[in-house]
């Protein structure tokens, strides 16, 4: 590890900081090693360079010093409170001995990953948010944007719809670009992917009145910020079937289709894969789309990174009427079987918890597997056509159905992980149902807000444990249950798999657990200060492996935990990271 700091400068990083915040130690990292395209394609095992570790979104680390034999020896190396209260879903990155830690309100901190010392802090100066932007204020407080590293820069997407590029050495703004008009309601709430010299990002706010008809995945030149292409998830003039699927509703009367999770990338085919969320309004009775499938909502999109053109799509949940959106992480999995390489896209994309595998070169459906209790999908044909439960389609306003999973259950933003070691996919899930009824609720008289009423979340009949860690044994022909671990609290963090044969994940009861990938046995657990959150990750410095566990307040920690009075939330957000490592004399192996 070669952390190189220039003499301390007490400098105000932004105009905001100069007027209202205490001055932080703004150091400068000397000789920061640029993150090359080659590194992004093949990240060193010791580092964690992007959202889920690698382009394949597997959330897997090749480090094995912390393993089934040593995990019980983990000790706290250091901890750090995040810069802001509020809701966060942080995904820390590590490169060249530096941890880049982002939290809500677009705050990024560079921290010495070995010692936990702050190096610099960037606070994004958002224009004062007027009362008419309440949604953006809300989003800023709960923002989950991951960040990206490329060359000597840190790249972030902001609540006010900007791409901001920082110098990794000192956290100062190198350049920024206003991508879309925040006055219409556009806002970034997921982080960017850097691939093929492009910043690939996806915008949110697509259910706001002013954004009608346009929800985009976009590419910008990573050097200049010039827009190279954009793909509209709810209006594809190149595909008549997409247009017809909205039942005659013109593009300007369509909403939704937000890609809520950073996509994956296959350098071999120069393709990026993104999940897309629910349509707006939620119920077809209100959105006017009849029995149309409302493409490309709840779909996987494979997009040519060079042109921005769609290569293929697959819809996981057509005709969504219940806000069971399917935008969550897509993982790329390669398996060689009998000399044949199978290139799959594997995902539990949405709240109904159904796992899917697709051929990622063609989009061909391979298999699906139900996990939690769900009643919205009746069957899936051999060709992958998904049939919804017609009995749950509303025929009248006010009609109410019990729908499983719930709007805050099933598979949420918490990402699963795949382990090549065991060829298993580990998915954090929540059992839940709620009643859903389309109603014209009109919060403010006459205003276009509110179209579905959800009842309280309840557990499915006969189930008392909300949390489910589901291990799926996957290959190109099937995904079968390898093991299940059921527990009362809901999972509130993403999952990390490692070459140490472990899976790490945390829950609303503030407990981080390590499971044995093979058996599902809990081999280590630690209770921390707040619900476990964000994206646990791992890195190594000077031959020692570190485990990073974020904690704090997230939408899952709040909405899910409130259902269990015996698992009280702490009063404060507790937004922090805890960094564990083995005792210095307990090193047992090096990275593979």
């Amino acid at each position: 590890m070669k952390l190189k700091l220039l003499p301390v400068l007490l400098a105000a990083g932004t105009a905001f900081a100069t007027v209202s915040a205490p001055a932080f130690a703004q150091n400068v990292i000397a000789d920061y090693e640029p993150v090359t395209a080659e590194m992004l394609a093949n990240p060193p095992a010791e580092e964690w360079l992007m959202f889920r570790g690698k382009y394949n979104n597997q959330g897997y680390s090749e480090l094995d010093m912390i393993n089934k034999d040593t995990v019980g020896d983990l000790e706290l190396a250091w901890a750090w409170p995040m810069a802001e209260a509020g809701i966060q879903e942080t995904a820390p990155l590590v490169h060249d001995g530096i941890m880049f830690l982002q939290t809500n309100n677009n705050i990024v901190e560079a921290i010495n990953a070995e010692t936990g010392d702050l190096i610099w802090q960037y606070r994004h100066a958002v224009a004062e948010i007027p009362a008419s932007w309440s949604y953006q204020a809300n989003q800023a407080r709960r923002q989950k944007n991951s960040i990206a590293l490329y060359e000597d820069k840190v790249i972030l997407t902001t609540v006010d719809a900007k791409i901001v590029v920082l110098n990794a050495a000192d956290g100062k703004v190198a350049w920024e670009k206003q991508v879309l008009d925040y006055n219409k309601g556009y806002s970034y709430t997921v982080g960017p992917l850097i691939a093929d010299g492009k910043i690939i990002s996806a915008i949110s706010g697509c259910s706001i009145a002013g954004t009608a008809g346009g929800c985009y995945i976009m590419a910008h030149d990573v050097e200049t910020g010039d827009e190279l292409w954009r793909f509209n998830t709810i209006d594809d003039p190149d595909n008549p079937a997409q247009q017809e699927s909205w039942g005659g509703v013109p593009p300007e009367n369509r909403w939704g289709g937000t890609p809520w999770t950073t996509g994956a990338y296959d350098p071999e085919t120069n393709t990026t894969f993104w999940g897309v969320g629910m349509p707006g309004p939620y119920a077809q009775l209100i959105r006017g789309s009849g029995d149309g499938s409302v493409l490309y909502t709840n779909s996987t999109l494979a997009i040519d990174v060079d042109t921005g053109k769609l290569k293929w799509y697959y819809q996981h949940l057509p005709r969504d009427n219940w806000d069971l959106d399917s935008p969550f992480e897509r993982m790329l999995v390669d398996q060689e079987i009998d000399g044949v390489m199978h290139k799959m896209l594997v995902t539990v994309p949405g709240k109904n918890g159904i796992a899917f595998a697709l051929d990622r070169d063609t989009g061909k459906y391979l298999w699906s597997k139900e996990t939690i209790v769900q009643n919205v999908v009746d069957k899936i044909d051999e060709d992958g056509t998904v049939h919804i439960n017609e009995d749950l389609v509303f025929n009248a306003l006010g009609e109410e159905f019990l729908v499983c999973s719930s709007v805050s259950g099933g598979k949420l933003w918490q990402a699963g992980a795949y382990s090549p070691l065991t060829q298993a996919y580990f998915v954090p899930l929540t059992e839940a149902c709620n009643t859903v009824a389309p109603t014209q609720t009109e919060f403010t008289a006459g205003n276009a807000v509110g179209s579905v009423k959800f009842g309280p979340r309840v557990l499915p009949e006969g189930i008392t444990d909300a949390g489910l860690m589901q291990a799926l044994d996957i290959n190109p022909t099937q995904g079968e249950s390898k093991w299940q671990y059921r527990y009362r609290p809901s999972p509130t963090s993403s999952v990390l798999a490692t070459a140490g044969g472990l899976v790490f994940g945390g829950d609303a009861s503030r407990e981080i657990k390590a499971w044995d990938q093979e058996t599902g046995e809990v081999v280590w657990s630690q209770r921390l200060n707040a619900p476990i959150g964000g994206y646990p990750m791992t890195y190594a410095i000077n031959g020692e492996q570190y485990l990073v566990v974020p904690t704090g307040y997230s939408n899952s920690a709040s909405s899910i935990s409130s259902a269990f009075p015996e698992i009280p939330l702490p009063t404060g957000s507790g937004n922090s990271i805890f960094v564990f490592k083995l005792p210095s004399d307990a090193k047992t192996a090096s990275a593979n």
Partner: protein, 273 residues
């Protein structure tokens, strides 16, 4: 703090759940009691279609109660699905607002028991607007012509409910619009044959657009009439204020103040219920 926290948790567990937001971090809720003296903080949705009318009503209520009205723009700009609304309302009502004006009082009220609705101070209709002089009523419009409806509104609900009761082919195709101005444009360019819109929204279109003269309200039959009953929200903890508000509204309805304000803004409908 415990009192406010309990209030917040009750809201989270009993209120409406949305896709991407779910709750306010406790630190965001002020642990202070407002010392208002002889004034009340009255908040508004700045995007509300009836915002100026609601402010005048608030001032009239303040006068009736011998209270100074502090006008505060509350919030606005939410997605169609209401994502984030209850979070922001919780913050506003806990930290800033005594009263929130201009809310819809209906059987499907989305507000949790943490909030109490006053009685309505006005009932204002949805209207059907067309530009083609050949149409004297909605019933004159051929069934193959699409209509526009104000997204997620009582008027739209009224239409959907009616249409669901008709035989196949005996209702109109409907496109939902979130922006009344855009919907008016589509009536004028012929994309849609007419629109179901809240009358204050139509009044604003008439006031702001020179090309709106061609738009006119026509008979909505065969649809039944649809109204929005407009009231205010107070904290359920403040039963005294709600009682005083209700009494003031009754008095202002009775003495013609509300009716005069409706006339001032060119709003149809009636004072009270």
């Amino acid at each position: 703090m415990l009192r406010f926290l309990a209030f917040a948790i009750a809201l989270f567990s009993a209120g409406t759940a949305f896709a991407q937001t779910a709750g306010v971090p406790p630190e965001e809720l002020n642990n202070t009691r407002r010392l208002a003296g002889d004034s009340i903080n009255v908040c508004f949705d700045v995007t509300s279609l009836g915002r100026p009318f609601d402010e005048d009503v608030a001032r009239a209520i303040g006068d009736a109660l011998f209270l100074e009205v502090n006008v505060i723009d509350g919030f606005g700009g939410f997605p169609l699905n209401g994502d984030g609304f209850m979070d922001e309302l919780t913050l506003a009502m806990n930290n800033t607002c005594d009263v929130f004006m201009g809310v819809s009082v209906s059987a499907n009220s989305p507000f949790s028991e943490a909030f109490a609705l006053t009685r309505p101070y006005a009932s204002i209709p949805f209207v059907f607007v067309a530009s083609d002089p050949a149409y004297q009523s909605l019933g004159d419009i051929p069934k193959d012509r699409p209509l526009g409806t104000a997204m997620a509104s009582m008027g739209e609900m009224n239409y959907i409910t009616w249409a669901q009761q008709q035989p196949d082919g005996q209702s109109w195709v409907r496109y939902p619009y979130a922006d009344p101005d855009k919907m008016a444009t589509r009536v004028l360019d012929g994309t849609i044959a007419g629109m179901i819109v809240w009358q204050p929204a139509f009044s604003r279109v008439l006031a702001e657009r020179s090309d709106a003269d061609a738009l006119r309200i026509i008979d909505p039959s065969p649809l039944p009439e649809a109204f929005v009953r407009v009231g205010a929200l107070v904290s359920s903890r403040n039963g005294f204020l709600r009682s005083q508000m209700d009494q003031a509204i009754d008095a202002l309805v009775a003495d013609g103040t509300i009716a005069a304000l409706l006339e001032k803004y060119g709003y149809e409908g009636k004072a009270g219920e």
